[in-house]
């Protein structure tokens, strides 16, 4: 993990953003034309609509073809590998979209507190506004929960820490930025998987108050240690 200067940081945001726009994350091994990228996005969005309507298990390739307005043949040509490849492309694209939204929110922050508050609020909003995710949590929760339980959660943490660590690196040493990122990810997963009666993670004022009470004193203690 590295720490970024503001300049490196803005090019990083642009790179993530353009990666998502061009769908580089799901790019196949051969060069693709612009219409093909558009088709991939249409398929992914079709798959998301199907998952939002009836969950993952009941979603078939035919459903996705219908929802994306494409023939089965075009669908197989655009994303070879059948149902599994379509689901993988969908997951990868959604993860890239999530991190892209997070990069935009955290990139606009001018203070460490704002980076934490905006990162957490933006994550919570994005996740709770996803119709596909909402349906999955209702009808097939294990599809999601397995990634935030026991050893699998360690992997999700590592991914999220790798991504968000550099943003905190503007204010913290790399090892401490990783700690702050790990901490923030746990707050998001805890409040989303186990909602609170009193704290709404999509509300920046409530998140700010929560962090000022329980998190920022620790983050500032880490910063102080650096200085001394």
């Amino acid at each position: 993990m590295r720490s970024l200067t503001p300049r490196q940081f803005s090019s990083y945001c642009l790179a993530v953003d353009s990666a998502v726009r061009s769908n580089a994350v799901v790019v196949p091994l051969r060069p693709v034309s612009a219409p093909e990228v558009t088709k991939r996005v249409a398929i992914v969005d079709g798959a998301l609509a199907c998952i939002a309507a009836k969950g993952l298990r009941l979603t078939t390739v035919d459903d996705v073809a219908r929802a994306s307005g494409m023939s089965r043949a075009t669908l197989y040509r655009t994303i070879p590998g059948g149902r599994e490849a379509i689901i993988q492309a969908t997951v990868e694209t959604e993860v890239a979209r999530f991190f892209s939204a997070l990069a935009v929110a955290m990139g606009a922050a001018n203070t460490l507190e704002a980076a934490l508050v905006d990162g957490i609020t933006s994550s919570a909003r994005w996740l709770s506004n996803s119709p596909a995710l909402t349906t999955l949590l209702e009808v097939e929760p294990w599809v999601i929960m397995q990634h935030v339980s026991f050893g699998q959660m360690d992997r999700a943490l590592a991914l999220a820490v790798d991504f968000t660590g550099p943003f905190f690196g503007r204010w913290l040493e790399p090892a401490q930025a990783a700690r702050a990122a790990d901490w923030a990810v746990r707050i998001v997963t805890s409040y989303l998987s186990n909602p609170s009666d009193t704290i709404d993670l999509t509300d920046p004022i409530q998140v700010r108050d929560l962090l000022r009470q329980f998190v920022l004193p620790g983050v500032h203690a880490l910063q102080e240690r650096n200085r001394s």
Partner: protein
């Protein structure tokens, strides 16, 4: 007063013994009925949903036993720091050394889902309730409310104990650092 173990409990305990021995995939309703010494008819009277309901009851039963054992192991802790540090270490070790849990995580982790979902909130409340007297006894930073602090600590402890991420919870020095900074720095008064 002595209590006659009820049939449901007896079947659940037998179910746990079978899963521990054969694994969840190879445990049948017949195996459990035989181990519990009850008929298939009795079995279905207590678990009309069959195998799935039985397995779920077994997971929930062991899940609660796990937290009760933890509760007992930590009751002697004196200070807030001590209960947090010992709690994280004991809980993490208990998870790592729980052979049946580790086997399920390797083979059929999805059977944990109903219990994890249903028990999530009660467990958080149980942990928060356990921590409350420690918080009440302790001088807290001005503006910190006991209930809010207990809820926050319970969430964090439950997160770290199952998935330590970059922390080594077998190392007392790391655990002390985690407790001091991530868990208690906003709660403890600023030391002079």
């Amino acid at each position: 007063m002595g209590q006659v173990p009820d049939t449901r409990e007896q079947i659940t305990a037998a179910g746990y013994a079978c899963i521990a021995r054969f694994g969840p995939t190879r445990t049948s309703v017949e195996d459990v009925a035989q181990a519990a010494g009850v008929s298939r008819a009795t079995m279905y009277r207590y678990f009309p949903g069959g195998r799935a309901e039985l397995i779920d009851a077994v997971v929930t039963w062991e899940y609660r036993r796990f937290f009760l054992a933890l509760y007992e192991a930590l009751r002697g802790a004196e200070t807030l720091e001590e209960v947090m540090e010992r709690g994280l270490m004991v809980a993490h070790q208990a998870i790592e050394e729980h052979e049946v849990l580790q086997m399920i995580l390797r083979t059929e982790p999805e059977i944990l889902e109903p219990a994890l979902s249903a028990e999530g909130q009660p467990t958080r409340e149980l942990v928060a309730e356990f921590l409350t007297p420690y918080l009440e006894r302790h001088e807290l930073r001005p503006g910190i409310e006991v209930d809010a602090a207990a809820d926050f600590l319970a969430r964090m402890v439950l997160s770290y104990m199952g998935s330590p991420g970059q922390w080594n919870l077998d190392d007392p020095i790391q655990v002390a650092e985690l407790v001091e900074v991530e868990l208690l720095s906003g709660i403890m008064p600023i030391s002079s």
